[in-house]
């Protein structure tokens, strides 16, 4: 019974997690890392903690925080992303974002790739589309 429950949970989406406007800024074909941006919503009544993100097209994905401290650009890995009940979080340029490492092939504008957001034993798949950043 317990085993059944955990198998069921493993296949389930993160409860209440909705991912929209997911995109990757177009980068040089030789780029070893790409950025990932999206709007995350927690439609549920319990807090969500995203502890990992991965995707078949990338060697690894890290969650990062960009900040400016005393004229210095700083990038720091984040242990996870937290969404309070009915809360939202924006992954955007110059703030929290995904670092998509070692792409397995070059991406051009219009390409799409799937990334999986893990919250404990559950996970939600989101499609990210490559597009040119706004000037």
């Amino acid at each position: 019974m317990l085993a059944c429950a955990s198998i069921g949970r493993a296949a389930a989406d993160c409860t209440g997690l909705r991912i929209e406007q997911a995109w990757i800024p177009q980068a040089p074909p030789v780029a070893a890392v790409l950025g990932g941006y999206a709007s995350l919503f927690n439609d549920g009544g319990t807090a969500l903690h995203i502890d990992a993100v991965d995707g078949a097209d990338f060697g690894g994905v890290e969650m990062h925080q960009m900040s400016m401290e005393g004229g210095m650009m700083q990038m720091r890995p984040l242990p996870g992303l937290d969404l309070p009940p009915r809360g939202s979080l924006v992954l955007a340029e110059g703030g929290k974002h995904l670092m998509l490492m070692n792409p397995k092939h070059p991406f051009k504008a219009g390409d799409a790739t799937a990334l999986r957001f893990h919250c404990g034993r559950q996970s939600t798949l989101a499609t990210f589309t490559v597009r040119a950043p706004a000037p």
């Binding site: 030789v30 990932g36 210095m72 700083q74």
Partner: protein, 224 residues
């Protein structure tokens, strides 16, 4: 007890002074005018044009920089001599930077386009402070994706440190989650170098494409 005397004497002396000084007054006016012209000329020479920039700071007096030895992505050395004869905008960054570096390079491409013919009077340089991962060749491929006219430059840490001390930029390696995914903190300002290869000022974020175009147009058109 001669109040009239005591009054008339100063009056006479004052009158004499006036008579005498008519010539003197003329000379002093001329001299004053000459001094004013001199000061103005001096100011004009020191500050050939009053250039106000919106997106940063110009030094009152451009600062000479020491020679340095870096590598251009085309395999040739990149030294102080490469800075002379045109304005230069240096952007300090690295290619393993997913967020701000490609965004800024894409913005500089838009600035280059917006400058039109004036773009030929300045050079954009992407200076990588991550020579461990950014080989000149890879750096060149990355940079030229944004614009074939951008220069891609890096070099040994000792040279980057010395140039940083001269130009006022710093950088620091920060451990990542794995040894390969370390991060680089780096100064965010764009560095302005004048055609005499001197440090002229900085453009600071948040960068706005239109302001950058306006500022750089002013610089290349007024200060050569």
């Amino acid at each position: 007890m001669q109040p009239s005397c005591s009054k008339s004497a100063p009056r006479r002396r004052f009158g004499e002074f006036l008579n005498v000084s008519k010539g003197l007054l003329r000379w002093s006016l001329l001299a004053g005018l000459a001094v004013l012209i001199g000061i103005t000329a001096g100011l004009v020479v020191l500050h050939p044009a009053s250039v106000q920039i919106q997106s940063g700071t110009l030094l009152r007096q451009p600062r000479p920089i020491a020679d340095f030895s870096l590598a251009n992505s085309d395999g040739k050395p990149y030294t102080k001599a490469d800075l002379a004869g045109h304005w230069t905008v240096i952007y300090v960054g690295y290619t393993h930077c997913p967020d701000v570096c490609p965004t800024t390079l894409a913005q500089l491409k838009a600035v280059e386009k917006g400058l039109g013919v004036d773009a030929a009077r300045l050079r954009f340089v992407f200076l990588s402070i991550d020579p461990e991962r950014d080989t000149p060749e890879a750096l060149g491929q990355y940079t030229h994706y944004f614009s074939p006219d951008f220069l891609a430059v890096t070099g040994p840490n000792a040279q980057l440190d010395a140039l940083g001390a001269n130009l006022g930029f710093v950088y620091e390696k920060v451990p990542g989650q794995t040894p390969q995914t370390y991060l680089m903190d780096h100064s965010s300002a764009l560095i302005l170098i004048d055609p005499q290869a001197r440090l002229a000022g900085y453009l600071t974020p948040p960068f706005k494409t239109e302001s950058l175009i306006g500022d750089l147009k002013q610089l290349v058109e007024n200060l050569t």
